[in-house]
Subunit: 309 residues, 6 copies
Amino acid sequence: MFHHVKDLQFNARVSRPDPRFANLLLEQFGGENGELAAAMQYFTQAFGAKVPYPDKYDMLMDIATEEFSHLEIVGATIQMLLKGVNGELKDAADNSEIMQVMDGKAAKESIIHQALSANPQFGIITGGGVTPRNSQGIPWCASYINSNGDLTVDLRSNLASESRAKLVYEHLMKFTDDPYIHETLSFLMTREVAHYKMFEAALNDIQPNFPPGVLAADPRFTQQAFNLSDGATVRGPWNEGEMPDMGKDWNYIADPVAYVKETQGLTKTDKALEKELKETEKLDKEMSKVKSAEVKDAEPEGVAQWSTY
Amino acid sequence: MFHHVKDLQFNARVSRPDPRFANLLLEQFGGENGELAAAMQYFTQAFGAKVPYPDKYDMLMDIATEEFSHLEIVGATIQMLLKGVNGELKDAADNSEIMQVMDGKAAKESIIHQALSANPQFGIITGGGVTPRNSQGIPWCASYINSNGDLTVDLRSNLASESRAKLVYEHLMKFTDDPYIHETLSFLMTREVAHYKMFEAALNDIQPNFPPGVLAADPRFTQQAFNLSDGATVRGPWNEGEMPDMGKDWNYIADPVAYVKETQGLTKTDKALEKELKETEKLDKEMSKVKSAEVKDAEPEGVAQWSTY
Amino acid sequence: MFHHVKDLQFNARVSRPDPRFANLLLEQFGGENGELAAAMQYFTQAFGAKVPYPDKYDMLMDIATEEFSHLEIVGATIQMLLKGVNGELKDAADNSEIMQVMDGKAAKESIIHQALSANPQFGIITGGGVTPRNSQGIPWCASYINSNGDLTVDLRSNLASESRAKLVYEHLMKFTDDPYIHETLSFLMTREVAHYKMFEAALNDIQPNFPPGVLAADPRFTQQAFNLSDGATVRGPWNEGEMPDMGKDWNYIADPVAYVKETQGLTKTDKALEKELKETEKLDKEMSKVKSAEVKDAEPEGVAQWSTY
Amino acid sequence: MFHHVKDLQFNARVSRPDPRFANLLLEQFGGENGELAAAMQYFTQAFGAKVPYPDKYDMLMDIATEEFSHLEIVGATIQMLLKGVNGELKDAADNSEIMQVMDGKAAKESIIHQALSANPQFGIITGGGVTPRNSQGIPWCASYINSNGDLTVDLRSNLASESRAKLVYEHLMKFTDDPYIHETLSFLMTREVAHYKMFEAALNDIQPNFPPGVLAADPRFTQQAFNLSDGATVRGPWNEGEMPDMGKDWNYIADPVAYVKETQGLTKTDKALEKELKETEKLDKEMSKVKSAEVKDAEPEGVAQWSTY
Amino acid sequence: MFHHVKDLQFNARVSRPDPRFANLLLEQFGGENGELAAAMQYFTQAFGAKVPYPDKYDMLMDIATEEFSHLEIVGATIQMLLKGVNGELKDAADNSEIMQVMDGKAAKESIIHQALSANPQFGIITGGGVTPRNSQGIPWCASYINSNGDLTVDLRSNLASESRAKLVYEHLMKFTDDPYIHETLSFLMTREVAHYKMFEAALNDIQPNFPPGVLAADPRFTQQAFNLSDGATVRGPWNEGEMPDMGKDWNYIADPVAYVKETQGLTKTDKALEKELKETEKLDKEMSKVKSAEVKDAEPEGVAQWSTY
Amino acid sequence: MFHHVKDLQFNARVSRPDPRFANLLLEQFGGENGELAAAMQYFTQAFGAKVPYPDKYDMLMDIATEEFSHLEIVGATIQMLLKGVNGELKDAADNSEIMQVMDGKAAKESIIHQALSANPQFGIITGGGVTPRNSQGIPWCASYINSNGDLTVDLRSNLASESRAKLVYEHLMKFTDDPYIHETLSFLMTREVAHYKMFEAALNDIQPNFPPGVLAADPRFTQQAFNLSDGATVRGPWNEGEMPDMGKDWNYIADPVAYVKETQGLTKTDKALEKELKETEKLDKEMSKVKSAEVKDAEPEGVAQWSTY
C-alpha cells in the first residue's frame, strides 16, 4: 500500500508565475519521458519480479515510489507557476482586462492571457491547473512504458528511459532563469543519473545477461554488417574489426543485394556455422531449463497470497 | 512525497491461476474506469485545491493514495492469476506442449495457451505480467480523467467516476467463483461506495454548489424541455411539473421547429425573463467577486513554496 | 431516423472573424467536454434503455438530438469566425501578403496569418474549416463517452458531463467580447444546466438508486475513512460524524498502516459486521431478481423489431 | 437543428441474439469505415461549403443526416443482437450458470458467456450495450475523417469512403445467415453505392476539377514513372503509353538512381518544359483569382448570421 | 529488400533556417496526409496484391518506394530548416541569450526561441530534429491508412489520398517565400498528381470496377435520393435526372418520413424491383465465382515462398 | 532515396496457412517493438546526425534500411500465413461453409473462420491482408519511437529497443512449429542482437558518453539510495558499496521521510558537496562549449543542401 507525506521530497519553490514554462514542464508530468511514465514503468515491472527476484522487486518499487514523489514535485511546480490563473477565471463575469490585452491596448499582459497563449487548455479546460498531458496537449498514454517480463530486457529499457528523462531536464533548464526552479530541475535531473546507476548495478548482478532473454544468437546471422546505404562508404567499430565482447569479428557485406542472391536469401551458409548452430541449440536448452526453473521454483504451490502480515 | 508499504491494504489471495479472468481484471488496472484513472484524477485535482481549500486537498490526496493502493491490489491479483506463464515462456527452447494443444492432441490446456487465448500480449509482450491496458489491449490514456479547476465540477466528476467503478466491480464478480477473489472485489467495490459518500459530503460542504462553476443559468433558456424525438410522446418529471430544487416549472416545447422559427432562433423571449436576466447578471458579478477572492486571497505573495518543513 | 432543419436552434451570429477564438471554441465541437461528446454519450446510452425504460429512452434521445443541434450551432459559429481564411487559401499563387506579415513589414495582420497562429491546421489541413478536434488538435475520441448499461450509473455520468460542459462555456465567455457570441454561449451554457436538471429528475424517478448498480455495499468496508496523507490532520464531514443518508458514522482510521497489519489486511473484522453482511447478501439476491426481471420481462420473445410503423 | 423520428429509416429486425456478430457489426458503428465516420465527415465538410456552394451544402447535409440515420439502424441491430445480456448482468448475485460454462459443465452456452467471448467489454463495461468502438475495442477517433476545405478534394475523399463502407458491408454479410440482418445489410450496402453516385455527380458538376485544388501540376515532374522496384520489369497503362486524360505520355525512368544523378536531383530539366512551366504559372494565377473570388464574393460583409428565420 | 541511396530523389535545398515553417512541414512527414501515410498505405496494400495481381504489386511497390524517398526529402528539408537549434541546445550551461529574448531585451530572436515558439518539442524533446508527428504534435498513427484487400477499393482510397496530399502541398506553398523550398514543394505536389494518374490508369485496367468489391447494388434501394435536410429545396444532378453511368434515374424522396412510414421501413417495394433483385442475385453469384477464382487460382499449393532467387 | 529489390533479404517460407500465428506476428509488423518501430526510430534519428556525425548517420541509415527490409519479411510471412482468406471473402455470395462452422456442423474449420477468430479485422477490414496494427488491433503509433537529438541518449534508446525486439521474437518462436517460420524468426531475432552490438560499438566510440547529454550530475543528489518501500530491507550493489564506474559510494537513506525533514527538503547539504558543485559547474561550461562547437562547426554557412550529386 502507499502512504502520502505532505512535504515534498525536494523543497520546490518558484520565484514568480510563468505559464509558458509551466507548459514546457508538462513534458515531465504527462509527457513520454516524464515522471508518470517512469513511475508506472517500474511499478508495472515490479509485479512480475516480486516472486522470483524479491531483491530486484524491492529496488523497482523503491524507485517507482521515488518517481511518484518526483511527479508530485513537478506537479507542485507547475501549479505554482500558474498562480493567479484560477482566481482570474473565477472572476467569470468580467473579461475587460483580457480584452484590453487582446486589442493591444493593455499596459501589461494579464496572467490569464499568458496562460492561454502557452496552452489554450490552461484557460478553458484545466482551469489553471496541472494535467497529465505533454507540452502540446497529448494525453499521457501507457504505450510510453515497457514491461516485458524479463529483467535483462526491462533493466535495459530503464537505462534508456533514465537517459531520456535526464536529457529532457537538461533541455528544460535552458528555458528558465528562476534559480529556485533551476535547483529543483538539477535535483530531478541528477536523480535520473542515480537511478541509471542503480539499474546498471542490478543488471550487472544478473549473469549472464546477454543476449537479453533466454536464447542465444543464431551463429549464422550474427556477424554480418550489411552496407545498405549507398554512397560514401564509412567504416567504424560497428562494421569492422571485433564485435564488442563477442570474440568474433564483423563480416562486412559490401554488396548486400548480390550477397542475398548468392546465398539464396541467406539460406546457404558456411558449414562451420552449422556446427556452431548445433552447440547453440544445446546451450539454448540448458539456459531454458535454468531460467524457467528460476521462476517456477520460486512460485508457491496452492493458494497464492501477496502479503505476509 | 510517497512511501510504499509492502503489505497490501487488503489481503489479496487467489485460489488458482486463471489468465482469462486476469484479462478481464485489466479493466480495473489500465481501463477507463479503473484504479489508475481514479488515482490520477484525484491526484491531479488535488494540486489546484491545495492553496485555496487545504481541507479538500487533504481529502483528495487521501483518496488518491488509497486508489494507488487499490491499483497495487488489482495488479497483485492479476499477477497471481498469471502464475506459471512467465516460467513457461522462459522455457524458450521447448514448445512441444503448446503445439500439442494447438493441434488438439493435448490432454489438457497449458497455462500459456490459456494466457494467449485470453490476451495475445500476455504471451508475446508482457511475458505473463501486468500491463496498464484494458481487457482489449487499449493502453491507459489520460483522456480518461477530468480535472477542471472547480471543486463543484470536479467532485461531481468524481461521483460519476466512483459510480462507474462500482458497477465494473459488480460486473467482474459475475465472472469468477474464486471466493478469495470475490472477497477482494467486494472490498474494492465497497470502497468506491465509501469514496462516493466522502465526495458527496465534501460537495455538500460547499455552498452554493449549483449551478457548478460561478455563473447562474440564463433565465431565458433554463426552463424549456424540447420534444425533439418524434413518435409516442412521453412525459415525466424531466419535462413536466416542477424542476428539481429550482422553484420553476418545466416549459414543454411540443413542436420545437415551429417554436424556433416563431422566436427567431430563441432571440424573441418573454419580457419578464429579460428583467430576471438583469438580476442574474448582478448575481453573476457578486458571485465572481466572492469566488475569485476565495482563491486569490489564499495565494501568498512573493516566492511560492509548496512544503513547510 | 434523423431529420435536419436548416435553421439553427439558436440564432448564432458573429460580429467579425476571430480565428483565435474559433480555435478555443473547437473544445466544444471536438473536445472532451463538447457537444459531440454529449450527443454521442446520450445517443449511445439510449439504445440499451429503449426496451426496458421507454420513457428514459425518449428523454435520452431528445437530449441527444438537442446536443447534435448544439454541435451544429458551435460548428456554424466557428465557421463564421473563420470567414476569409478559405478564400485567402484559394488565392494559391500569391503569398506576398503573408510574407509581408511574416517579415514584420505588413501594416496589418492578414486573416490567414491569424488563423495559422491560432491553429496551424486551419491553414494547412482544414482549409479554414471546422474540425472535430480540440483546441490543441487532438482528434475527438470515443473514450470521452461513458455508457455502462445501468441508468443509475449512466445518469450520474451525465450529471458530471453537463457540469463540465457548463464550466467550459463559462470559461470561454471570458475570452470574447463579441455580444452575439456571448448570447450564443449563454444559451448553450444554460441548456447544460437545464439538461442537468432533466437527468437529476430522471435519476430521482428511479428508486432505489443508491448504490448505483445492483449490489449493496459490503458492510465490513463501508465506513472507514483512511488517513493516508501524512501531515496536518484535517477533519470534515467526509471523515467524521454521519455519512450522508447512510444511517452510519464514519470510522476514521488515523494510522492505516498499523490498522491493516492488525486486521491482517482487513480480513479480521468486527463480528457484528459479519451478521450485517449476511443481510446484505440476502438483499443482493432480492435486488438481483427485481432488477434482472425489470429488463428481461420487457424483452419480447422471438424476432426482434425496433420500429412500429 | 436536428429532429429525431423514432421509427428507423429501414425496418431492422433480428431473428435471434448473436453477440459475436454484434461485435463484428461494431465496425460499422464505431469503426474507421462505419456510419459515424461517414456522418461526421459529410457534416463537417458541410460547414465550409454552406456559403460559397449552398447546393453542395444541401447535398452534404442530406447525406450526413442519412448516415446518422444509418448509425441508428446499426446501433439498433447490435442492441437486438445483444438481447439477454443486460438482464443477465443485472442478476448480479448469481454467477452459477456462467461458472458451469467456464468449467465446461454446462449443457449450453449462456448468452452472457457468448457476449464475453465476443468482446470482454460487452460483459464488463458496456453492460450488453452498443459502444462507438470497433470490433477490437478501439474507440472511434476523428482522425478517421477528412475535411480539407476544397470540394474537388473532399468529394474524392467521399468516393473512397463510400467504397470502403460498401466493401465492409459486403464482408459482413458473409458472417451471418439471419435473413432479416441480410436485408438490413443489403439496404445499408446499397445506400453507400447510391451516395457514391451522388458524390460523383456533384464532382462532375464542378469544372475543372482536376488536379484537385487550385494549382496545376508542374510540367517538369508530371510525366515520369520511376521504376523503383527491382526485379521483373512490369509495364502497364500506368507507366507506358498515354496518361489518362492528360494529352501526355508517360516517361518511364528505368534506372532512377542514374537519372537522379544525371539530372542533379531532377534540377536539370528539358528546356521545353521550362517554357511550359511559365504557362502553368500564368494559369495558376488565373485559377487563383477565379477560385478565391468564388469563395470571397459569396461571403457577406459585416455581421454574419447562419440562419434565415 | 530495400536499398538506400544517400542522394535525395530531388535536390532539396533551404536558403535559411525557419523553425516555424519546419513545424508546418511536419504535416507531410508525420501528418495524416503526409508521405509516411502514403508510403505505408501502398506498401501495406502491396502484400495482398502480389500473388493474384503481380503487375499491380509492382506499381504499388514502385510508388511506395517513391513515397519513402519523398519522406526522406521532407525530413531533410525540416532538418535544414532547424539548423542551429541542436547546437544551441548543446550549449546547455548557458541560457543568457534565451532569457534576454524572453524578457524582451534581446536585439533579435535566437533560433532556439523561434523553434520553441513554433513547437515546444523542438526545444525539449526532439532536440531540434525531425519527428513523425504533425504540426500540432500528434504522433503519426496507422489509422491514417487504408488497405482493404480489394484493388477496386484500395485504388479509390489512393486517389483520395493523393488528392489530399496534393492540396496540403498547395497550402504549404503559401507559407514560405524561400525559392528553393518552393521548388521542392512543387516537385512533391506534382508527383502526387502523377501518382493519381498512375492509380487511375490501374483502376481503369480492372473491369468491371464498379461497384467496388464483388456484390452489385440492391435494385430496391439504389435510386432514392432522400431529402433529409429541411428548408430551401435544392435540386441538382445528384438528385434529379440520370444517375451517372447507371442507366437509371434518381428517385427523389421529397418527404422521407412519410415515405418510410408508407413503405413500412422500406420493406414494401415495387414489384418490378423484386424481379430485378433476382437477376442481381444471379449476377452476384457469377461475380463471386470469377473474383474468388482470380485470387484462389493464383495461389500456389504447398509450401509458400515469397522470393525467387 | 530508397530502392526496392523484389527478393527478400531472407528467404521467408511458410508450410501452411495459420491465421492465428499471423495475428501474433502482427506485433512485429505494427506493434510497439516491431520492425516499423525500429526502422522509423533509426531513420528519424539519422536526420539530425547527418551533418555533425556522418559516420553515425551512415550506420543509422544502414540499420534503418535493414529494418525496413525486415518489415517486408514479416509482412510477407503474415500474408503467406493468411493464404486462402482473401479468395474466400471474394466468394461473397456464398456463406454456407462459414455458417456450417458457426453452427458446429462443419467437418473442419474453414480458413476464413480461423482468420475471424484470430482477428475480426482479417475478415471484415483488411480482407485477409497485412495491417500495421498489433495483435490486439491497436494501430501503430509514432509515440513508440524515440529520437532526442543526442547520440549518447539515442543509442541507449536503441539498445533497449533491440533488447525488446529480440525478446518478442523469442516469445513468438514458442507459438509455431513450422520449421520455415522458425528459421525466419531465428534470423530476425539474431539480427536484433547484431544491431545491439553495432549500437554498443558506436556508443563506445563517443567519449565521454556518461551521463547522457551534456551536463554532469549534481554532486549533492547523486549518491543517495532512498529506501522508500517499507517492509523487509533488501541491500544489493544498487544501494550499498560502490556505484558502478563512479568512484563514489552509495549513501543509503534508511528513513527518507525523516531525512527529508532534517535537510529541509534536501536543501541543507554537506559543505563538501557545495565545493564539488562548483567544479561541476565549471565542467558543465567546458562540456557545453565542446559539445555545441561539435555541432555548430559542422553546419555549413549559407544555403543548405542535403545531397552532393
